[in-house]
């Protein structure tokens, strides 16, 4: 991975399956502000009544700033609860989570056991030069939640954020997960997501990535229950020596499961992006469907893209598709725009926005959710004016 190399150069953690994520907190520098100062400028935390808020300050749960419903959500940093959560997922052999539990206030377990009437915003706020978040989300049977994971950096210093979010969806549970970022400084961001979907549960992920200096998004999804579904829909917009790595592993472990990935990228000014996706369909399954699509637009000659949508199919009764395109803006399309009086820069902008919006256009989202994603795209494309 490109960002791995960059991190090695910077003497930052670089390998994927290392223990450091959970155990080596020495790597994290001390915050340059006190936790109590962090929320000072963020009055929005208690203003928008359309959301519930769970606020983490430099990795720790901040009860005072959180706004929770009367019932349905339980927050825990208890070692036993977290150990039980992980045991249920059968992940414990993979990562050394238990080593970190002595410092358990950095690991936050959110349990949701009933439908929540508003979306939940999980605010991860940091002013440290390095921030570490580990969040486990447990959705009980039949629970549906819209989950906005917002990473906010105060200050304009260079920053490393290392986030791990692990989600377990019970039978018939559903989670729409939006990843949002608000960074002022140069942020190198490693975001790891691990999902377990039980029978007939649905996990959907949406993101517009544009302001990271480098972003490595690693996701692993286990579709363990019959009828489980997942989709990953994202766009990466890089226009200034930025690096985006997207790695998605989806494991279809049960019949009637469905997965879809659609990532489009626009790369300019010596940026690079990669889309490494692997869908594995286990043996002896029926009616499995998996689709991967990655479209990339290279605006300048120095930017590069790597794309590898891979399928590992071990059953016969499957419907799969995978596709990838990479190229420059179509000259004929630009000519068509020009023939209607549209200036070159505006034409390029419309084409870029069109490519990016297409990721979300057929998603089953509410109008305001789509508008919100489109607004993030439009805001990021302003530099082409």
């Amino acid at each position: 991975m490109i960002s791995n190399k960059m991190n090695t150069k910077l003497k930052l953690p670089s390998k994927r399956d290392e223990k450091w994520r959970y155990s080596d907190l020495k790597l994290l520098e001390a915050p340059d502000r006190k936790a109590s100062e962090l929320t000072g400028g963020y009055t929005f935390l208690t203003q928008d009544e359309n959301f519930y808020y769970i606020v983490l300050l430099d990795g720790k749960f901040c009860k005072e700033k959180s706004m929770l419903p009367k019932g349905g959500i339980e927050i825990s940093c208890s070692k036993d609860n977290i150990a039980n959560f992980n045991k249920g997922l059968k992940f414990e052999g993979k990562y050394q989570v238990s080593q970190n539990l002595d410092n358990n206030d950095h690991v936050v377990l959110i349990s949701i056991d009933e439908n929540i009437d508003k979306p939940v915003k999980l605010v991860k706020l940091t002013s440290s030069k390095s921030a570490f978040f580990t969040t486990f989300l447990k959705l009980e049977k039949n629970c549906n939640v819209r989950f906005y994971e917002s990473f906010i950096q105060q200050g304009k210093h260079k920053n490393l954020i290392n986030n791990v979010t692990r989600i377990n969806l019970g039978d018939y549970a559903s989670c729409k997960h939006f990843i949002q970022k608000d960074f002022n400084g140069e942020v190198r961001f490693i975001n790891t997501l691990e999902i377990v979907c039980n029978a007939n549960s649905i996990y959907e992920n949406y993101s517009v990535n544009t302001i990271d200096k480098s972003y490595r998004f690693e996701s692993e999804v286990h579709l363990n229950g019959k009828g489980a579904r997942t989709s990953f829909n994202g766009v990466n917009i890089a226009n200034n020596n930025q690096i985006y790595d997207v790695v998605i592993d989806i494991k279809h472990n049960a019949s009637n499961t469905f997965s879809k990935q659609h990532y489009n990228q626009v790369l300019d000014k010596n940026s690079s992006g990669s889309f490494y996706s692997n869908v594995e369909i286990s043996e002896l399954l029926n009616a499995v469907e998996a689709h991967q699509l990655n479209k990339n637009l290279l605006i300048d000659e120095k930017s590069v893209v790597y794309s590898r949508p891979m399928l590992d199919i071990n059953s016969d009764d499957v419907i799969c598709s995978h596709g990838s395109t990479t190229g420059n803006i179509d000259e004929e399309a630009l000519n068509y725009f020009a023939s209607r009086g549209i200036k070159l820069q505006h034409a390029k902008q419309l084409i870029i926005i069109g490519l990016l919006k297409s990721v979300f256009s057929d998603c089953k989202l509410d109008d305001f959710e789509v508008e919100n994603l489109y607004r993030q795209i439009a805001h990021s494309i302003e530099f082409y004016e």
């Binding site: 179509d330 004929e332 399309a333 000519n335 068509y336 725009f337 020009a338 023939s339 209607r340 009086g341 549209i342 200036k343 070159l344 505006h346 419309l350 084409i351 926005i353 069109g354 490519l355 990016l356 919006k357 297409s358």
Partner: protein, 246 residues
């Protein structure tokens, strides 16, 4: 005089395509250009509309006495030149809504007008689409994406109606159309036709000219106009072919 093409010679990739071409078009006139394949009809349309990739080796093109040689295609469009494409391109991801609004506003800006309001835009779009029998659902789709040949041609005419250009060049607008679509498109061209605009129709066939009667017909051969006449010339071509002009 709206369009004045004088002694125009054009080449591309070192190959001569148009030679000493002269064509004058007044406001309110409809001219038809006919000719066998590969004689330079579409090149003339492309050169007037300002498409890149052609070398003008001699002559000039003027719109309302303004020399177009140094003016790029987007500016020509804003000045009032509209070309309907023989094979309109598909642009997935870009909705008709944003594309049409951007084109209308580009033209309006040139004319010193404010951007069209969303309400007026939708009203005009629906009104013009109805004239062409375009299903409202198609307006919500991306530019020409997955459209049939006939639908693409109808959307070319829709753009003409919305942009209200001074000079319209219709490059084989009749190809790929069934009889009903041909009638609808012809009616809209006739309704659009006025003393304030001019139309150039490039076609291989006489059938469109049964509905849109031209003032002049020009026969193209070897990169230039070899004969001009009225509607009867088109009938002559249909009966006898182009052999006499090669």
């Amino acid at each position: 005089m709206l369009l004045e093409v004088s002694n125009l010679s054009v080449g591309a990739n070192g190959k001569k395509i148009l030679t000493n071409l002269n064509l004058n078009i007044n406001k309110g006139e409809v001219h038809t250009i006919m000719g066998p394949n590969g004689t330079g009809k579409s090149t003339l349309a492309n050169v007037i509309s300002g498409k890149d990739g052609y070398d003008i080796t001699n002559g000039s093109i003027k719109l309302s006495s303004k020399d177009l040689s140094q003016i790029p295609s987007d500016e020509r469009a804003r000045l009032g030149i509209f070309m309907s494409f023989q094979h309109p391109i598909e642009i997935p991801g870009v909705s008709w809504n944003s594309f049409l609004k951007a084109s209308i506003n580009a033209v309006r800006k040139e004319q010193g007008k404010e951007d069209i309001s969303p309400v007026d835009f939708m009203k005009e779009l629906k009104e013009k689409a109805a004239l062409l029998g375009i299903d409202y659902k198609l307006l919500k789709r991306d530019v020409n994406h997955g459209f049939s040949g006939g639908e693409k041609k109808k959307f070319e005419i829709l753009q003409m109606l919305l942009l209200k250009p001074k000079l319209v060049i219709l490059d084989e607008i009749d190809s790929g159309l069934d009889v009903d679509a041909l009638k609808v498109i012809s009616k809209n061209i006739n309704d659009f036709r006025s003393k304030e605009n001019s139309i150039i129709i490039i076609t291989h066939y006489n059938r469109l000219l049964d509905y849109v009667v031209p003032d002049f017909v020009h026969i193209f051969s070897n990169g230039t106009i070899v004969k001009s006449g009225d509607k009867k010339l088109a009938k002559e071509i249909e009966d006898q072919g182009y052999d006499d002009f090669k």
